[in-house]
Subunit: 361 residues, 2 copies
Amino acid sequence: MQRKVFFTPGPAHLYPTFEKHLQTALDEQIGSISHRSKQFKAIYQYTVEQLRTLLAIPPQSAILFTGSATEIWERVLQSCVEKESFHLVNGAFSKRFYEFAAELGKKAIKQEAPFGQGFNTGQIHIPHSAELVCLTHNETSSGVSMPVEAMHQLKKDNPDTLFVVDIVSSAPYPALDYSLIDSSFFSVQKGFGMPAGLGVWIVNEKCLQKAESLKAKGLQIGTYHSLPSLWSKYTAYETPATPNVLSIYLLGKIAEDMNREGIASIRKQTEEKAALLYSFLEKSKLASVAVQNPQHRSQTVVVADVKQSSAEYLQDIAKTGNVVGSGYGSYKDKQIRIANFPANTTAQVEALIQVMQQLEA
Amino acid sequence: MQRKVFFTPGPAHLYPTFEKHLQTALDEQIGSISHRSKQFKAIYQYTVEQLRTLLAIPPQSAILFTGSATEIWERVLQSCVEKESFHLVNGAFSKRFYEFAAELGKKAIKQEAPFGQGFNTGQIHIPHSAELVCLTHNETSSGVSMPVEAMHQLKKDNPDTLFVVDIVSSAPYPALDYSLIDSSFFSVQKGFGMPAGLGVWIVNEKCLQKAESLKAKGLQIGTYHSLPSLWSKYTAYETPATPNVLSIYLLGKIAEDMNREGIASIRKQTEEKAALLYSFLEKSKLASVAVQNPQHRSQTVVVADVKQSSAEYLQDIAKTGNVVGSGYGSYKDKQIRIANFPANTTAQVEALIQVMQQLEA
């Protein structure tokens, strides 16, 4: 059976080399090895080294594994906030991150932009009392992105506040400066083209120190997946509980493939494919670019308003073997979301555009 | 390359049909489907139905998915304990469960038995103030098991207290009566013969009511993976965050295979294979059964004291392509642990015994 091409914003199309690496993992019986073995430690170390190279993560920052990126919302708030966090909210996911803080008993402060709009640095007011600034690089629900330079500038303006950036649906695209940004995180079922089931947390020593100070005060920061617990195991390339060993192995192999191609090339291709999609949408009769400000348009999740029902439009596209995402939440039937991850080749994007063009005829 | 046979207590040998189901999942592109799709809901429902049949779980109980069984230690304590939990501790894992309660700010009460020993029901004293009794059916570190009838009797003697049973390294073997036991949980990398990365939480409405009462009091019970959050999504066969979709699919398929064989047959085979192993150890010159009381000997993790260094012994066994587990923690070099999960066939167990017999010559 002909396989479909997924342009969904996660779970998404699997990376072209995924199945090859999975077969090797099966042959090497990675699914059965002990997470306390030397073999596992070597896998953890290898994946860390590949991710460091790919994302330019300095050796001082730890790379930790959880069950999902959603879990990291919870863990970073538990470990890095005693009283108050600050959130830029402009869609369903940045809002959920903000809500987590309140559910954990923190004072959560938000600055909100309407759905489909982004933030300009000059208009952002971070309270001095905020201990952690929570930014969402790429709001998966609306296709709005925050320029990396804007995030860097914000941190420069607030050097004593910890900054965490959600790069769930954009990694490995954003070139974050980890000498500035204290923490970021993603899950593997989006830009890395893997099945869901693993969260990756990049975090520096300032965050660890904060967590340890909260713990010393007798505050609850969680159990096995508190930052100090994860970090102390990480120093020996271990994990506090049995992790998704197979996915950690596969992530290392895919990151290695990405390094072979080169992150600069992957970023350039991402921008070229996004340009093709936006350029098509600007001329389309059935759909139009949803995000008005070109500076805030996501390069990895392209969102379009559709003139008629998106359900019908998506069905017509699906008949050709291409799966595009619907709008999110109340925008389900009014918008479509086209993922533009590294696993989607230029040829696939061009073929999708051709399909959409034919529907206009 | 000839593949090894794993007798390690988790991660463990993969179930014989695992690779076949994985190939089907790849062909059907399960790794790319949306966790909000009808296709995913059907998978969740299917896996629930297969597990209900296999473990005789009544329709009133929910079956929920987390990142690991370790996570469920944390979640069940957060959601079901306001002040006090009670724990039977007789090894590293039951002890860690107990420690989680203290780390979460609960008053954790324990009754402890020496390593390698179990509990007799007459000697267990559960305080009236305990809200949740935490039992470990099979202590993976020591190979000590608690008879199912003893757990049922304890609950009958304390009908108003919630009971949760850790069946991490014994499921699907123990025939728990879910009209008595309020909750249990396991991970898939042991008795179900899958790679790690999924925890399964079986939980009844009394636990949900308890969690809702704590929430109503304004207590923190977590965020996306609190019991009410997991349960409310479960009613539509959904999850609060993107779960390990692929593993949920594979678990359903393996549970289906187990149902085809029949749980009675699987339990009988487990006991027969365990009897072969214990019988060999009773005559062995190099090793001896570690758990003195035959009533407390695990049927799924057979632990033996070794006369000399276990490292050397395990290496000699490994040369034949069989991987047996070392002792746990301070018993690493003094004991060995032989997993006896459904994925290990009688022929494999017999072959292992033959290898060990030859080492005695």
